[in-house]
């Protein structure tokens, strides 16, 4: 510490080197996300006859460190859609704030309240929201400043049919009866496709079946994805609205298989 009165309390230059003032400049090259830092792993979702089930665990990892174990990665939009985020958590939080603004704007633009709908949350449905997010993500990739996420949007479209779509950090967007991001696309998607290979299959699934499939997939992901957690959020979107549970615990786990696999647990040979 510097003891001279004119610089009391500051690090001594002869010890730490001269202060690098370039950190204080706000001119100079713009910084962009070059790689994700704190990340969330898979988000999975499947359509059923009258809506969509979507789930993601509550973990935010810092590399291989399980850094934050209570991070909610599902977000409700206008009481009618759910957005699930995989990838960088700070970019997720940026998008979350951005969607808050969008929701407020939409509520202002929405029709004046009527006796039937005293509070109109707006008419931006999941399909509209997905289109908007695709444009946002694609714009950011064009600026070489990507938002490092893969996003699932679950809800209903203009015809009140179940809607499920994905968009990633390059603005690539697609839909499918079931979707999964990250590890989920390799581990959960094959399981979900067994139950909903086509739109017709998905339209025959009941809500209970869909929830069971998703819970089963979350369990498989916890078994095999090292950056996953047994605490997760799950949401069901239907015409009636969104039911979001944010502190679910994986149930009926069985680690019996571990005994037969070398490298798991304690083995003597």
């Amino acid at each position: 510490m510097d003891h001279r009165p004119q610089a009391w309390g500051r690090p001594r230059d002869d010890v730490y080197g001269a202060y690098d003032a370039s950190y204080l400049q706000n001119s100079g090259p713009k910084t962009v996300t070059q790689s994700p830092v704190v990340t969330g792993t898979s988000v999975i979702a499947i359509k059923f006859n009258e809506g969509v089930v979507i789930a993601a665990d509550n973990l935010a990892s810092y590399g291989s460190l399980a850094r934050f174990t209570d991070v909610k990665r599902l977000r409700v939009f206008l009481d009618s859609s759910v957005v699930g985020f995989g990838g960088d958590v700070s970019d997720m939080q940026f998008l979350d704030r951005h969607l808050n603004e969008l929701a407020i704007d939409e509520a202002y633009d929405a029709a004046e309240p009527t006796p039937e709908t005293p509070t109109s949350p707006g008419t931006l449905n999941a399909a509209n929201l997905h289109k908007y997010l695709q444009k946002l993500m694609y714009r950011r990739r064009n600026d070489f400043d990507p938002l490092w996420n893969q996003i699932l949007v679950a809800g209903l479209d203009a015809a009140s049919k179940p809607f499920l779509a994905s968009v990633d950090l390059r603005g690539t967007a697609f839909t499918s009866p079931s979707l999964a991001t990250g590890f989920g696309s390799a581990l959960a998607q094959p399981i979900m496709r067994k139950y909903a290979a086509t739109e017709e299959d998905a339209a025959r699934l009941t809500r209970e079946q869909a929830v069971d499939v998703v819970k089963e997939c979350m369990k498989v992901l916890f078994y095999r994805d090292a950056r996953s957690l047994d605490k997760y959020s799950i949401a069901v979107v239907t015409k009636a609205g969104v039911e979001l549970k944010e502190n679910e615990q994986l149930e009926r786990q069985s680690w019996a298989f571990a005994e037969r696999i070398k490298g798991y647990g304690t083995q003597t040979v």
């Binding site: 003891h3 010890v15 790689s35 694609y138 070489f144 697609f174 696309s185």
Partner: protein, 264 residues
Amino acid sequence: MAMFSQNPIMNGPSYSFNDAPRVNGPEGARQHRFDPYTDNGGSTLAIAGADFTIMAGDTRLTSGYSINSRHHPKLFKIGGTTADQKDATIVLSVVGFMADGEALKERLDTICKMYRYRHGKPMSVKACAQRLSTILYQKRFFPYYAYAILGGLDEEGKGAVYSYDPVGSYEREQCRAGGAAASLIMPFLDNQVNFKNQYEPGSGEGHALQEVARRPLTRNEVETLVKDAFDGAVERHIEVGDGLQMMVITSTGIEEILLPLKKD
């Protein structure tokens, strides 16, 4: 006391963090640069007939070895009055990086809609084709990574197919295959549509060989040809499959056909 003299020479510490090694490794060691492109696979095909054009594409969307979607169309109607494109007369197919392909489609469609708003008539395929080339070339140094094919009917009512590279080189052709399986389908098309390497049996040998007479194909022939071409491509290319989307452009409008392909 010398301790408070603050004279570094007299009283300098015998340690320093000044030259501590940087935490980050050497430049480029953990650098993970953002690649703005991916290849979403898939294949497209267009054949011009005497008074029709058939455009086709598979509906699989991949990235790497993953199938993202089994139903993601690559064919788009362009320049209709309304969003459902009911009265459109032009079809655009794109393959490569789908986000770019779809952005390209929306650019072209908006331009066609503004043209209609200003001039009160739809854009001709020829004009649309030239405009598409300009759009692609405008992004010469950050290209749309998309292989586009534009199909419609020309001023005389004949089938017209225009094919493009990602930076806007284009030409009008009789037929063209694009995308992942282009190199598998194109030779088949040369042989079947343009009758390349087909000779009259028994017409002689060497220079005496007579080429089979070229004739315009009928709509039914072309539809079968398209299906055969894609069945072949599905067999030999992992990025092609799931569904076949066809659009038949005639003077009465655009007919859309969906057929299944192998899903493996």
